[in-house]
Symmetry: C2
């Protein structure tokens, strides 16, 4: 059973999950990405993964068999497990609870050789729609306070399987960074009676120099206090707290701008490893006025020195104005290239 | 001129320092460690670094020439610069100030081939004493709120020069993680009227199962909510807020336990890359009752997925109890091996 343990000083919860662990003698060896032949995410190998939770497949085709265009299942090595009670309890001066949660994998395409960015718009839209479906399902479980969706692309970003996929973790706590955003956004709202994210969008549209691209509903920009070179945020221009509240047309536009940003990053920076994290409001309605969902894309271009995550103090060698200009001015193929 | 920019949502300051930057076309290439022949930190190559700020060298020997046993100078590519005013100002809704600060390098030994752990106790003690001397000097500058000392060992930990060294960054802000510790420790003190770090030490001495080693004045343990496998904290058993307040005998004991912990990590985990960060109280006396200096050592054994630093939510595959037992039970050579 994985455990959630709380740092008594700063209140950060950590998952201790030995199911994913290595023996001490194996530390120091960074594993290779799984090669195509053994790929558990390829069609035909469904039996090497847990049962599917949902899939997009032709009507009447059989579950857990080839034929799907997108597939969601539990992570085979879950960081948190779905069965059980939280059982919050003290351990001396410390606090713990059972590692209850969901840990799912969204296989974005049956085609091993394509990355998300290579997929046709409709397939990217399917991925984004699948995120929404999983949110709607999981937020009904009262044990979960937050549903976190993220993607690791490339080994430098922590991906251990090459086949393009996203992950979802539902947790009984709100992750620290999101909690900080909520506190900061609430403080701003209390003072200004405006959403801080909406004000940031206004500022970015005025300044223009950190904007990478935009369409009717979304803006992609490199934030003023970027931690990393080419860190890029995607934000809906309208004030929307929760990701699940965007409609089907906004999904089309989101697929389009996500594909464009990823194409610009891939073209300009030689297919970098990257992570993106979908920041949405926690389960519940009390964040509606002041939180604003968005996606943070972090290309993995520099080695992050340990002191940076040990101190929360980042040194960024690239001005976001320079990074945004570079991506904005790139010549890229049209946005509708399809597989 | 480097800049300090503030994230408007969560209030984190970031250094934007293009002096250290690469052109976009060079991103994605991780540089190799500098090879011995070109090593700017080796004796005889003093002219390839900035002027020394202090050095331990025989009486009468010439500054910026070989002969030193330890040497401190400004970083050649400083993230912050010492000359100038802060000039805090708004930029639209954002906040910035000039990147004023100090960025120094402490060369721990003239011997290129030795790591800190290989040095005799007296040399390690000299390194720790040099930290103290630099603190005492820099904390007199009223522009600086915090003085951060850290070490990156090995390329996976972000070291760009192989020759064993530590770094110091003096900043006009308190780094976010330290600020969080201060807030958490203050809250605990207000409630319990005790130092939380002192209570943690009591708990660790009672439980014993996370202790790596200890001596009269220090304890080394893997924290209950460790973020990373084999994360190890070194803490003085007595309540001391600021690193500069330990006396010469405590420096001897600190050198001894630091050498022991690093030896256990090197022996047990095949010389891993690691970072350590010296957490001390900020400049000023108002933290005396509730803060407690310590060193956090983070071996770099697993790839940290971007979602972890993007969310502040860590998945640790190794229980600290298992990691501490492994290190504690290792057979290592005596503690007094010298070069």
């Amino acid at each position: 059973m994985p455990e959630l343990r709380k740092d008594p000083i700063i209140g950060r919860w950590v998952i201790i999950s030995t199911e994913r662990g290595k023996r001490p003698s194996n530390f120091g060896k960074i594993e290779k990405l799984v090669s195509p032949k053994a790929c558990p995410f390829c069609p035909g190998n469904e039996s090497s993964t847990p049962q599917e939770i949902m899939a997009y497949r032709p009507d009447g085709s059989e579950a857990n068999k080839a034929g799907w265009s997108l597939r969601v299942m539990s992570n085979k090595y879950p960081a948190l497990i779905i069965e059980g009670e939280l059982d919050r309890e003290p351990k001396g001066i410390y606090d713990r609870m059972n590692g209850i949660g969901a840990h799912e994998v969204i296989i974005e395409t049956p085609h091993h050789e394509y990355d998300l960015v290579d997929l046709p718009l409709q397939s990217i839209k399917d991925v984004l729609w699948a995120y929404r479906e999983r949110y709607l399902d999981l937020q009904r479980d009262p044990r979960f306070k937050y549903i976190l969706i993220f993607k690791n692309h490339g080994s430098a970003a922590g991906a251990s399987v090459e086949h393009s996929h996203s992950q979802l973790i539902a947790t009984p706590i709100i992750p620290k960074r999101v909690a900080e955003e909520l506190i900061g956004a609430k403080k701003y709202y209390d003072y200004k009676e405006r959403c801080i994210f909406c004000d940031i969008i206004r500022q970015e549209i005025t300044d223009q120099d950190r904007v990478v691209c935009e369409n009717d509903s979304y803006i992609a920009f490199q934030p003023y206090a970027s931690r990393f070179p080419f860190e890029t945020w995607l934000m809906p221009k309208a004030h929307i707290c929760n990701y699940v509240d965007i409609d089907i047309d906004m999904h089309t536009e989101l697929a389009s701008i996500l594909k464009e940003v990823l194409t610009r990053l891939k073209t300009g920076l030689a297919n970098p490893s990257y992570n993106y994290i979908l920041h949405t409001g926690p389960v519940g309605t009390e964040y509606r006025d002041f939180y604003h969902w968005h996606i943070e894309i972090i290309p993995k271009l520099t080695r992050v020195a340990g002191f940076e995550w040990g101190t929360g103090f980042y040194i960024n060698p690239t001005r976001p104005e320079d990074g945004a200009k570079f991506l904005r001015e790139l010549q890229i193929p049209g946005n509708t290239v399809s597989v």
